[in-house]
């Protein structure tokens, strides 16, 4: 069994500390880890007791979460020798999960998430403009090109996550890098806008490309401003998506007051 390690493992299996609805939080965390490829299709999960300890939840809570993941079809449990719980990555299920998550949030939650992501990523972009080496800039550009070529939602999400995480690493900051990793596990729980409007991928690619240009020009204020602007745009998209869903009324009954 291969366990994740390094920053990814830390982020996926970081203890959950929001008291309410813990099994649901576990489901969301695992869902985004699958959506981002951190838990790959066919990958075996750690034993229940280990997983419960890592996530700092009771075995009971974990079992509830696994039961839900099984019901959704994202986890498959095989009995007997060589048995265990295995990941089943399914794009349509992940998209439904993301829609359900969006329906639980208010516009201010999305604004808050955007505010934090904007603060972290814009700071990283500003620092990267003065600190990144030419090799690192070339790597950033390479990631943006991969994002442009990515065809599946999972590939696009993953490439974009790598862009932001690499940007933070270019800032020479372990802390910003960890923040980005954590933020992406949260962002990975939400719908991916180009899945609804494919043209938006072009906007995202152009936005990141312009930031890389600014970093290459060693123009820190521009790198920062462009990153802030882009993330504000993204916040507007997710709020629009949320309001559309509320307008459709389809998911209204699922919403909960928290």
């Amino acid at each position: 069994m291969q366990l994740l390690s390094g920053d990814a493992r830390r982020a996926v299996f970081a203890p959950l500390d929001d008291g309410a609805l813990r099994s649901e939080a576990v489901v969301r965390r695992m869902g985004s880890a699958i959506a981002l490829g951190l838990l790959g299709d066919g990958e075996q999960l750690p034993a229940e007791t280990d997983l419960a300890t890592m996530l700092n939840v009771s075995t009971m809570t974990l079992r509830e979460a696994l039961a839900e993941l099984r019901k959704l079809g994202l986890v498959e449990t095989r009995r007997g020798r060589g048995g265990g719980s295995f990941v089943r990555s399914q794009d349509d299920v992940l998209a439904d999960l993301a829609d359900a998550r969006l329906a639980q949030l208010g516009t201010t939650d999305l604004r808050e998430l955007g505010d934090v992501h904007g603060a972290v990523a814009a700071a990283a972009a500003r620092l990267a403009a003065t600190r990144a080496s030419s090799n690192e800039i070339a790597r950033l550009r390479d990631i943006v090109e991969r994002l442009a070529r990515a065809t599946s939602v999972t590939d696009q999400r993953r490439a974009e996550g790598r862009y932001f995480i690499e940007l933070a690493a270019c800032a020479q900051s372990v802390r910003l890098t960890m923040q980005e990793m954590d933020l992406h596990l949260e962002l990975g729980q939400l719908p991916w806008p180009p899945a609804h409007v494919p043209e938006l991928l072009g906007v995202i690619v152009a936005g990141h490309g312009a930031v890389v240009d600014a970093i290459e020009d060693r123009d820190a204020p521009r790198a920062r401003a462009l990153t802030e602007e882009h993330i504000e745009t993204r916040t507007v998209w997710s709020i629009e998506l949320l309001l559309q869903r509320m307008g459709d009324g389809g998911s209204a009954s699922q919403r909960e007051v928290s």
């Binding site: 990814a8 493992r9 490829g37 790959g40 990144a132 993953r158 996550g161 020479q172 372990v174 060693r218």
Partner: protein, 245 residues
Amino acid sequence: MTAGVRPEGSRAEEAARVGAAVSEVVGRLFSTVTAVRAAALQPSAREGLRAGRPVLDGDVRNLLREPGQLAVGLGLVIAPQPERGLPLRLEWWQVDPDGGSLRTLEPDLKPTSLGYYDYPATEWFDVPRRTGRRHVVGPYVDVHGTGRYLLTLTEPVLVDGQFVGVAGADVSVRRFETHLLAGLGRLPAPFLLVNDEDRVVLSTAPRWLVGSRVPPGGGPAGPGAAVPGVPWRLHVVDDASPLRA
């Protein structure tokens, strides 16, 4: 005496003293790398390399326990050979930053993951592969790997003239700095150690932060002094400080 009025002669002497200390530390780290490489070339290890089985004797990790060892991680990173069915693989141990116990590094090697540790693309792997020579990289964030802020030293490992991977050692930037500054005793005039990417590796001039870049023309005047054994330069700088009245 303030830093600004030191005579030039003593500056050159101090630069030489700091440079010698840096060379000594780098040399010591490379001797660890060389020991890992030698272990990877043992007959049993070569057999492991050929067959895609474990290569290094587990005892190699004990190099991390040797007195005076500065490395926080070491091991062998193997070149994948997809045509022979040999995947990405590394045998790497690190000192746990919290407890001091030794752990095996098991990064995410799934290319389809957000957390994929794409080591064949890293400078510490790619440069020795391309040049056939040892290499020092950093400071850098080892994103998706150890997640730490590091200097990494690597040497290519060749079997029958073929590149099979790199042997390497990591030193945390913090440990490198603490060790060097403690070893220097009385701090010399403010100085900057700059790598071949114009990045500050070590600085006793607070205006120049570790990890920042010293743009050509925008940094300290002059070419600085070469540091033997590593492609770094040492600059003695004037650094007026409000805390140093």
